[in-house]
Amino acid sequence: MTYKAKFRVWRGDDDSGDLVSYEVDVNEGEVVLDIVHRLQATQAPDLAVRWNCKAGKCGSCSAEVNGRPRLMCMTRMNTFTEDEVITITPMRTFPVIRDLVTDVSYNYTKARMVPAFAPPADLEPGDYRMAQVDVERSQEFRKCIECFMCNNVCHAVRDHEENKTTFSGPRFLMRIAELDMHPLDTVDRRKVAVDDHGLGYCNITKCCTEVCPEHIHITDNALIPLKERVADKRYDPIFSIASLFSRSKDKRSPAPETPKG
């Protein structure tokens, strides 16, 4: 059941480029990434695309297929009709390097700003004890394959380049929530979440959750609980008064770091 599909693929860099039309063979069971590879092998050997595992585990082949953020390796061709024109463009929120490859360094910069896991100082390796039910909350977030599609789709940065300096996007707010829910982490991360990573920019439209290929409940299980914890701290009158008398009432809060350059 081979047929010829019509594709339009973004070719170019951050300054200029165009959608280029191709006709490519499609075989039964193939995914969009197979077609991109066939294009490379037969018509466009210099077509730039990132990919690694081809099994939805590494999060490299993120792009926008007909305007929707998708992993190309997990987008089956039989979800399109045979006469449908399929348009592939790079993720819109990040600068284009070439063709379908974008500069995702924003994400690595933000990752570096999240204060690291800090276990109790006197806990020796091998002595960690945690209940399965307690690790499961953070484990859900650690399923993240860092495809960065949640950060790509989040309108707080997708439509507002200027917010990139102050907002880390769902991926790294979820990372903060993950550490916050780690049974053995000792750091209070609420201030950092708001001041350094812009938790307040999130108005829970759930776009991130919708595009997550790992089906992580980013908004419901990470971002909303994190917002609630922050609200508890900020607006609880008893906590506020108590904190006037005790500087180390809560878990220690590290000085926020700012990235260099």
Partner: protein
């Protein structure tokens, strides 16, 4: 050349999977400046694809487990061809390396008493694999990645610069190691993004480049697995050993064609999955080899009882080492008892409730649902062998991971010896951690010993490296590198695959000679900025050299053992067990020679029953004074 980007580091780590990251962490903890150079984005390396877990004899689930049992299982799995010293270090140090990950923030699945849970796996006597569902590799790489970030944060607090001690060069490919007077002086590389070159001046380089899977057509490997480290090492003057031993994982997807080869984790069998042929028969009971007869169940009833009562029953043969299961599947398909798409059935749907399957094997459920439209909670999977791992690799000192070339270290899949002729599942992730750490430590000690006298990089070396890397742009009317690659993969698959014979391997070597000219004549369209065609043209040279090493070594070894099965020499021979086959470059190709293994230390030999040793060793090698 004047505008060439230059960097100077104490240690350059090539590869950012588990071994590379653990090596980088260790070198940094030893006070060294470190560059991590990787072909993909940071955190995307092949380690993310590991599913089952990390083998470490922590004894959390069965307290009888200890390093001696793990050592024995590893040697049996490798058919006693392993570097016994590496297998010893690995078994002893793996638990510490796993516990250390928890201090970095890893969240493994837990036992009821809150310890790290451990699962059953092929060839492991007790439940031994620390895991997180079936995404254990992702947990490992993310944890190490986040540890690197935490070290960078420490460096930032001290120096005001996150990258003052560890700098990551993502999407950078090394094309050549630079050697001065028989010692490592640096590495030459290009940025994929721009095509610009970059020079690393460093007295120590750690290879952690992973495997060679992309030399075969049906493979579980990503594009990165082009044997770069093996080829870089050989070209620089180091050696590789036992390249004939390729692990064909028994269970790769076979349908649809576009995903053929993608891995189906061994955990499916560890958690109860069974293999059946088109006649509905659990065929593995017909394939238990003599050396394993004592340890495996002979009836389905006994095998099934083992899952709940391992004290009084033997394990089912679905959990034999991978080489045995892969050969069995191959035989069933050849005998006409395969599935419509040329595999066998792997069924967990009749063995576990749907919610348990989704809980224990979430990414398998997802993978089959999304890619093959198969619901594994309701129907069986179709699976067949896929090229998964190379046991052979760069020859290293077991304790320091230094290669035959001073200043060059290797760890993880790119190194050889640890797994002998066949690797057990779960022993890869532990290998990465144990020997990644040792390689980082070895490199740091080496750099300290050098003092101020570091080998220098000359302008001539740089000019040569540049000419070589750009050659493909100057070929007029040459061949498409994608076509050459596809043909090379087909050749290796057909002629040096899971079952081998002399005539086919001879033909492979003849064809590889022809590929040398084709690879020289590979041409590139477009410019240097992010040009996959150019990248492939460069990778092809590595794949070709590795293919020749595999074919020559496979032709040389006239026996069947682990990941090397000869139709014309079907029996395992104690005489061949005493020999490694070593590859080095000669001219534009590969030369091989035989090298004796060192005899196993007496106290390690005593861990085995003499009757078992007799199956593997020559009479002269058996422990003295034992005549039973």
């Amino acid at each position: 050349m004047t505008d060439l980007e230059r960097h100077s580091f104490d240690v350059v780590v090539i590869g950012a999977g588990g071994a590379g990251l653990r090596a980088a962490i260790e070198a940094r903890l030893q006070g060294k400046t470190v560059a991590i150079v990787c072909k993909s984005l940071f955190g995307k390396a092949h380690t993310v694809m590991a599913e089952g877990g990390i083998a470490a004899a922590m004894g959390n689930v069965n307290s009888k487990d200890n390093w001696q049992v793990h050592f024995r299982d590893t040697m049996r799995g490798g058919k006693f061809l392993n570097s016994w010293r590496m297998a010893e270090l690995h078994a002893k140090e793996a638990p510490q390396r796993v516990w250390e990950l928890e201090t970095y923030g890893a969240l493994f699945d837990r036992t009821p008493d809150g310890k790290i849970s451990q699962r059953n796996f092929g060839g492991h006597e007790y439940p031994r694999l620390a895991h997180v569902g079936d995404r254990s590799g992702l947990e490992l790489i993310r944890t190490l990645q986040q540890k690197i970030v935490s070290l960078q944060q420490e460096d930032f607090r001290e120096t005001g610069d996150y990258q003052s001690k560890i700098k990551i060069f993502a999407e950078v490919t090394v094309t050549r190691l630079l050697v001065n007077d028989g010692r490592i002086a640096g590495a030459y590389a290009y940025y994929r993004e721009t095509g610009d070159f970059v020079l690393f001046e460093a007295p120590a380089v750690v290879l952690a480049t992973g495997g060679i899977g992309k030399t075969f057509k049906v493979t579980s490997a990503s594009w990165e697995y082009t044997g770069d480290g093996h080829a870089l090492a050989m070209r620089a003057g180091a050696t590789t050993l036992n390249m004939e031993f390729i692990q064909f994982h028994p269970t790769g997807m076979v349908w649809p064609l576009s995903v053929k080869g993608i891995l189906v984790t061994e955990s499916v069998r560890g958690d109860g999955g069974i293999l059946t042929n088109s006649e509905g028969k659990r065929f593995m009971f017909d394939y238990i080899p003599d050396v394993f007869k004592a340890q495996y169940a002979t009836t389905p009833e006994e095998g099934d009882r083992w899952y709940t009562d391992p004290e009084h029953n033997r394990r089912p043969p679905e959990l034999l080492p991978r080489d045995e299961v892969a050969r069995a599947i191959n035989s069933e398909v050849k005998a006409g008892r395969g599935t419509p798409h040329g595999g066998v059935y792997l069924d967990v749907s009749t063995r576990l409730p749907a919610d348990v399957i989704k809980k224990k094997l979430p990414s398998m459920w997802h993978q089959f649902k999304e890619l093959a439209d198969v619901d594994i909670t309701k129907e069986p999977m179709e699976v067949g062998p896929t090229c998964h791992y190379v046991m052979g690799g760069v020859e290293v000192d077991p304790d320091t991971e230094q290669t035959k070339l001073p200043g060059l270290f290797a760890a993880g899949e790119v190194s050889g010896g640890m797994h002998g002729s066949n690797r057990l599942g779960g022993n890869s992730l532990s290998d990465l951690l144990v020997f990644g750490r040792r390689a980082g430590l070895g490199a740091a000690i080496y750099v300290d010993a050098l003092g101020g006298s570091r080998p220098t990089v000359t302008d001539e070396m740089v000019a040569d490296a540049e000419t070589e890397a750009l050659a493909a742009f100057h070929v007029e009317g040459g061949e498409n590198p994608y076509t050459i690659h596809a043909d090379l993969q087909q050749t290796m698959n057909d002629l040096v695959g899971i079952i081998r014979t002399e005539s086919e391997m001879q033909e492979a070597l003849d064809r590889l000679e022809g590929f040398k000219e084709r690879v020289r004549r590979a041409s590139v369209q477009g410019g240097r900025a992010f040009n996959p065609g150019w990248h492939l043209a460069l990778d092809l040279k590595n794949m070709l050299l590795v293919s020749e090493a595999i074919a020559r070594s496979a032709l040389e070894r006239q026996e069947s053992r682990g990941g090397h099965t000869r139709d014309d020499y079907p029996v395992m021979s104690p005489d061949w067990r005493q020999l490694n086959i070593v590859s080095r470059t000669e001219g534009d190709g590969v030369a091989i020679y035989r090298q004796p293994l060192s005899p196993m230390r007496e106290d390690l030999l005593e861990l085995f029953d003499v009757n078992e040793l007799k199956k593997y060793l020559t009479e002269a090698e058996l422990p003295k004074g034992e005549h039973s």
